[in-house]
């Protein structure tokens, strides 16, 4: 009943000055609108840009690095154990690029329930022969089905069917830039020369566009068996295993574990692509900073308006106190006013923010680098809406705190005697 009374008084005071109230509320609405829109848009872009790389990057890549043997004779010799070793002109000797025991590793990965999936790969350096020119290129031997399932391979194939890699023997999917250089299209035959000098004719089954031009100019995809044939290697030859985990954040720990168990090199996504996370974080921080700044400005607006209202309503405060409202009751009235502005202004802000992001989401955004994207991306994450309304309540709370305290300390005697 008392709360209802305080609510009633706050409402009456608010409505009595509805223009000021509206201005204050619009300040909050604008702040929240921009906050929600900015964050939705920024994180939408972040997700898109990160997806560009991260979706296609394995969480852990198992491979065999070409490097000198760590156990050099001098190290194994007990005689020089306490000496520092200087070895010069060390060569990487007799190293094989393939992963030892790939079959065993893949079986072990299948059993690991932290693993979402894995996909074996072979990389082969080749030359694409085009007239008299040899174009440097890379053929990636992949398991097409797994690549589509784990690394959204289908999204990037802009012509032809990725399944054809498996169905048509000796087929290849070329990067768009590479195909343009050679002036070939689906159904044409391209000739590749391997590093050992063998020549093969491959049929173009499709084209892909990754969004990164440099990649499109050199990369191409073929099935595992075709690539093994190119390199004249047996069916067990695998140079890479791409692992996708259920939880990306466990990748660094898992990478260390795999390197130890499988005796291979393992690289996790965080190490390989640390710059992306940094960029994402900076963009998010900027969005939050701008949003909070807008809200603080709105908060000062509310502070001013409440202060003015208190000066205007000095008489009302005095008589309320004289007739039995305590300081805390008066404080509650003004806090209710402030929080009311924050709540309704914030709510309107969420609605406008949603509409504005919807609008941005319909603005055409065509870029050759991103074949799957037609409009600006928006991330409709409810978390931003929750943060938005909480921020608006928190800022208006603090904006109202000092004027309310002032109102609660109004001495009715001074006001009444002053008349």
């Amino acid at each position: 009943m008392l709360n209802k009374l305080i609510l009633n008084i706050a409402k009456a005071l608010l409505l009595a000055r509805w223009r000021q109230t509206l201005v204050a509320a619009i300040g909050v609405t604008f702040g929240i609108t921009m906050f929600v829109t900015l964050l939705s848009f920024m994180t939408g872009l972040n997700k898109l840009l990160d997806g560009l790389i991260l979706n296609r990057t394995p969480h852990i890549r198992l491979f065999k690095e070409i490097k000198p043997n760590a156990d050099q004779p001098i190290v194994t010799s007990g005689l020089y154990k306490n000496y520092h070793h200087f070895i010069s002109s060390l060569k990487s000797g007799n190293a094989r690029q393939e992963i030892y025991n790939a079959d065993f590793i893949m079986r072990a990965l299948k059993k690991d329930n932290q693993v979402l999936g894995y996909s074996p790969r072979i990389t082969a350096q080749v030359f694409f022969n085009y007239g008299t020119i040899d174009i440097n290129g890379v053929v990636n031997g992949v398991d097409v089905e797994e690549e589509m399932r784990l690394f959204t391979f289908r999204d990037y194939v802009i012509a032809g069917k990725p399944e054809d890699l498996k169905n048509i023997s000796n087929s290849i999917i070329l990067g768009k830039g590479l195909a343009e250089k050679m002036q070939v299209t689906i159904g044409d035959i391209v000739t590749v020369t391997t590093s050992k000098g063998d020549r093969y004719a491959l049929k173009v089954a499709g084209l892909f566009q990754s969004g990164i031009n440099e990649v499109d100019k050199v990369q191409s995809y073929a099935s595992i068996s075709t690539t093994q044939k190119l390199l004249s290697k047996p069916g067990s030859y695998i140079t890479d295993i791409s692992v996708k985990l259920k939880d990306m954040s466990t990748a660094p720990a898992k990478a260390i574990e795999y390197a130890r168990i499988f005796n291979t090199d393992a690289e996790d996504i965080q190490t390989a692509n640390s710059q992306f996370e940094t960029g994402t974080r900076v963009r998010t921080i900027i969005s939050y900073a701008v949003g909070i700044t807008l809200l603080i400005v709105a908060g000062f607006g509310i502070y001013n308006i409440l202060n003015m209202m208190i000066y205007e309503k000095m008489d009302s405060i005095a008589i309320m106190k004289a007739t039995g409202f305590s300081g805390s009751d008066v404080k509650k009235v003004f806090m209710t006013i402030s929080l009311g502005i924050g709540f309704f202004g914030g709510l309107a802000g969420l609605i406008f923010g949603f509409l504005l992001s919807k609008g941005i989401n319909h603005i055409p955004f065509n870029t050759t680098a991103l074949p799957t994207v037609k409009t600006f991306p928006i991330n409709y994450n409810p978390v931003y809406y929750i943060i938005g309304i909480s921020f608006s309540l928190i800022t208006t709370y603090f904006a109202g705190l000092f004027p309310s305290r002032k109102a609660s300390k109004v001495d009715p005697v001074i006001i009444i005697r002053g008349k």
Partner: protein
Amino acid sequence: MNTTILEARHISKNFHDPVTVKVLNDISFSINKGEFVSVIGKSGCGKSTLLYVLSTMDTDYEGELFIDQQLMNGKKEKDLAKVRNEKIGFVFQFHYLLNEFSVLKNVMLPALKLNKFSETEIEKRAKEKLAMLEIEKLAIKKPAQLSGGEKQRVAIARAMINDPVIIMGDEPTGNLDKKNSEIVFGIFQKLSTELHQTFLVVTHDNSFAERTNRIIEMEDGKIIKQ
């Protein structure tokens, strides 16, 4: 009939700014139920200051104050507000009605704060008070639409809504013309004789004071005659 409603014991008060001045000097008196007391004196003699000390709004004084046999000294702000709400009605020189609310709601506010009756009950009581002061037809109007005399009558109704043990007035007729002053005084007198309402009114209008039961005359912070 001789219950003491208000008792002041040795009340003194100093103003410290800019130099210490004794505004109230050892004031002791008491008011019994049903008395209509007026306080008179020249400007600056401390009569208003005394009223605000007795009203519990001013807590910066020495001495002891009893309202309805309860000691007021040392009470918290919140508790003093409750005492004012429950036991004291105020009528000031200025009406202090809240322009945002209707006349009826203005009268109801202190009772809603007291929260002793339901809202419908309070509304009924507020209408009774307005009817008693013959202004029931103003109930739905806003204070801004009322004349000065009407506003003051609404303020009286508001003072009475919680059936206070005492109504305090600070120059309640100070802003009114002769005719309206008469009406307001008439109301006070009627309440005093018919309902035995206790009044303590500060005034400089001697003709007003002469018609009350008891006159307390002050000079230089002291009671010189009562």
